[in-house]
Symmetry: C2
Subunit: 555 residues, 2 copies
């Protein structure tokens, strides 16, 4: 059973299937915010569409609406003042369950085609979504466009592709013919129906409201489930635009739009009511350990796919490209003011220093040189603002203040506020770098989200690798790195990451950064350490979101 939209997107799907098989470079959606790619008027149209949303009620036509709620505060200081529908949880869930009947009937191919149409439509809205992401999260423009639109769409398509591969491996029917010696065989016809587990809830985060939402959203949808998006209270708009577009695509295809809804929760109790509801069968969550662990403990009726906090770390043992290494690290620590779940927090450096192509560098020299590299990198204001963006929350700003006070370690590089000429009210801070000893575990061995990093003095390279493994095993990490010119050190670090189950970047010195992960090639998270129990994307991310219900009869 095919579907017109499956046929329409078939060539892209075939490429995507090839990509997940090889996990080389591939992307379905262009990452350049260029009129040449997206159309001559796309940048202006997108900006206009975004502006038109500000100060308005964002209509979605959802069931059970009881009022409006808003209150997003832009890190760039602009007035948002968008109001979103508040709907009864019970109404959203029962509407989602009702919509799942038709969604099941359209079959895996139909769902795949319709999800790909949704993604194409979101891609056409990339500029509008990028502005919404930028203004709610504080990301710089280029990142908001890339991570917020095409890269997020790629991650969504990646989930759809895995979902299709798993579902298409289940035959719709079978003829079972068991030989009975000289007697006629036993013959049965069997039918296998793919059914979604039930309503899925995707809980968004404040920093990546699309990139961290689309994988769970499209994994759950493609496998036959309804989805309710519960966005972060300060990053509702990108989710609302997404929901509106998905509902439109469903309606155009004769399907019940209530398959996808937005749940804006004015009270915390509403969220708890939503996620613990017996009809909710999966929860995708990105955010804090506290709420993530609460979900895992209290939402036993659902599968919880969680990305939590971690302490990403890098072992710096030696390098044959000292300046390039420092430059690479400076970019990583500065990008979006370190507000990425993949930003390195602990840089582990042997006490005796490191060998480099420009001579031996003591621990103190590494500290000073890295501080200088960050400072130099951010010395041009236009570069600084483009890369740093703004600080997403007051909590992060407060963490920067605490780090700057010197209470967590010796300040190697102080954070300074910057004035953004385009957004005078923007909350902009440069990164803070601290030096500390390996013994100061209380300082560096918990996530301090934001542009706060530690250069940790460790007894030896072996001790640094062991420390990296222990940090990852006990506190989690989405990314670790190693700089070394010695194969045996790289091998030891590799073996450590197999045990602690974390992705390793080796000697990054040019245009790839430890905090970046590319859809269709890099697995984001392994799902095997405390920072995440799932990965974007692999079979495990999709295979348990649907079930196969068989029936059999004699023929």
């Amino acid at each position: 059973m095919s579907h017109p939209l499956f046929e329409k997107h078939r060539a892209t799907l075939d490429n995507a299937l090839q990509a997940i098989q090889t996990r080389g470079y591939w992307s379905a959606y262009n990452e350049m915010p260029s009129p040449k790619v997206y159309g001559a008027t796309a940048p202006e149209d997108g900006k206009r569409a975004f502006d038109a949303l500000l100060g308005q009620q964002f209509e979605l036509g959802q069931p059970g609406q009881t009022g409006w709620h808003g209150g997003e505060q832009s890190p760039f200081g602009i007035e948002m003042n968008v109001q979103y529908p508040v709907c009864e949880v019970e109404a959203l869930i029962s509407a989602g369950e009702k919509a799942m009947v038709g969604w099941q009937a359209v079959g895996a191919a139909g769902r795949t085609g319709i999800c790909m149409e949704m993604l194409e439509r979101l891609n056409q809205q990339s500029f509008e979504i990028a502005h919404a992401v930028m203004m709610t999260t504080g990301q710089g423009w280029m990142m908001a466009f890339q991570a917020g639109a095409p890269h997020a769409q790629d991650r969504g398509l990646e989930a759809v592709t895995y979902a299709w591969r798993e579902q298409s491996a289940v035959p719709a029917q079978a003829m079972w013919e068991k030989p009975q010696g000289k007697n006629p065989p036993l013959v049965m016809q069997k039918n296998f129906e793919i059914v979604g587990r039930g309503v899925g809830v995707v809980v968004g985060c404040g920093t990546f409201p699309t990139w961290n939402t689309y994988p769970g959203l499209f994994a759950a949808l493609a496998t036959g489930n309804a989805v309710i998006i519960k966005p972060h209270s300060n990053a509702i708009l990108p989710a609302a635009i997404t929901v509106r577009t998905l509902r439109a695509v469903l309606t155009e295809n004769g399907l019940n739009p209530d398959l996808v809804t937005l749940c804006v929760a004015a009270q915390r109790e509403t969220t708890r009511q939503l996620v613990t509801h017996s009809g909710v069968k999966s929860i995708d969550f990105t955010g804090s350990n506290v709420f993530g662990q609460w979900l895992i403990d209290h939402c036993r009726q659902a599968q919880v796919y969680a990305e939590l906090a971690g302490v990403n770390n890098i072992v710096i043992e030696s390098t044959d490209a000292y300046q390039a290494m420092l430059g690479n690290l400076a970019f990583t620590l500065s990008l979006y003011s370190g507000q990425m779940c993949t930003t390195s927090q602990a840089l582990l450096v042997p006490a005796a220093g490191i060998d480099t192509d420009v001579g031996h560098k003591s621990y103190d020299e590494v500290c000073a040189d890295l501080a200088q590299a960050v400072e130099r990198f951010l010395s041009k204001p236009e570069v600084a603002h483009a890369v740093l963006g703004a600080i997403q929350s007051n909590d992060t700003a407060e963490r920067i203040d605490i780090a700057s006070s010197g209470s967590l370690g010796t300040v190697v590089l102080a954070s300074t506020p910057l004035e953004n000429p385009d957004f005078p009210k923007a909350r902009v801070r440069t990164p803070v770098l601290l030096a500390c000893d390996a013994e100061d575990e209380k300082a560096y061995m918990e996530e301090r989200f934001g542009p706060i990093s530690f250069i940790v003095k460790v007894a030896s390279a072996e001790a640094a690798i062991a420390l990296s493994e222990r940090i990852t095993r006990t506190h989690g990490a989405l990314t670790v790195g190693i700089y070394s010119t010695r194969p045996e050190v790289i091998d030891a670090m590799t073996a450590a990451t197999w045990r602690s189950k974390v992705a390793l970047s080796i000697n990054l010195t040019s245009g790839v950064f430890v905090n970046q992960s590319a859809a269709f090639s890099d697995y984001h998270g392994t799902g095997g350490n405390p920072s995440a129990n799932a990965s974007y994307s692999d079979s495990a991310f999709v295979a348990n979101r649907f079930r196969v219900v068989q029936r059999r009869r004699h023929v």
Copy 2:
């Protein structure tokens, strides 16, 4: 990276891969306990091997041994008196973790080949294992052979096959080449290592110590994990034979045998210590709701794959083969004295009776005719003993007594003890059939494990279908059935099973029974209702047992 044993078993694997793709009839291991198939001396050799184990200490050479423990009571009343090594939990887990290093290094193909070699070796031991299964569980000989040996081996191979399909879909390495316009592309080499999650524990049950153990055992092994089997206290021997064989195959292949160990727990506390250990990352469990729920609640460090209790049910609306239907049901209710997790407990019959090919039958007539069909089927002692086997536990015997007292419903067919001439001390009972009203939910709406079934009088066919759905949703079911000559009734029942997520058998009247599920074709459990959170086997059963750890570097 291939492996000699992968090449040796490649043709079988290819067939198995084809089988899971089509889910038609296929089997790797012959189900006939025949010397023609297994060798002229196989039956006697197997019996002799089994006899030689009785009254002995079962040596396994495991680490951390502190003593011996036994105590299995055969439902057939023979003296077992086998003693098994008791080993420290901590020693078994750390030995398993150590063994995983070499198991990871052998790679997915190597693991697949070695698992298939293990299964082949178990297949050669089918007679020995069948005797062990029969004497510990009370299964009749034919069932003990088929379900205990070849069918269990098929289920093990099915898990290995899914595990291979998922693992082989992960490339070992990739060249990532991202175009940079006019500049040279960014190029990275990426490597993807499959690592097991950690030690898996498989908790066996007392009725199917191999069939319900091999799927989890081989799923966990094939995906790179060590496995500790914690057998049911009364069905240790089949697990011990299995563990000994697997350890031998590992040793022959230069691998650490402590990858697979047996944990015989003299105290309940030992089991708790085992399953809650931080090193245990997966638990496969078949058994009661009480302990199953305890595992889910307390073993948060592990993935729990659980098969629990359920209330299997059949809606009988009409039939065009009344006698054949009764015969089919009589066999189902009698086989292994109803001690299968798939045996029907509640037969839902409209109060107004049913239309049949031999005229309308009132509810009371259906009750009487089914009772008579069971009685007639068991009237020949040799048939009765072959089919019924023996009652596995005193608890089940007590449940039969309670049911026979009439306190749960009107006794339509009383249970009688039978004397088994071959095993004078065997505990043999015929099934008890009760009649009750749909309102008597306390009677029929909880699992009453054993040969205890209810013919439930329901207002109408529609009410029966609705009741079946509610039973399955709230109490779970591994199997449901429908008898009807009306397509609209079958369609309504089909839709109900999609909602309640349970496998449906339609109008079974010949040599296939609702309580049987064939490996490679029937999914055992959907994983979508309270009777089980996983299925034998599908992608979800294997995909989350391993993780992919990547590393990347510039080239």
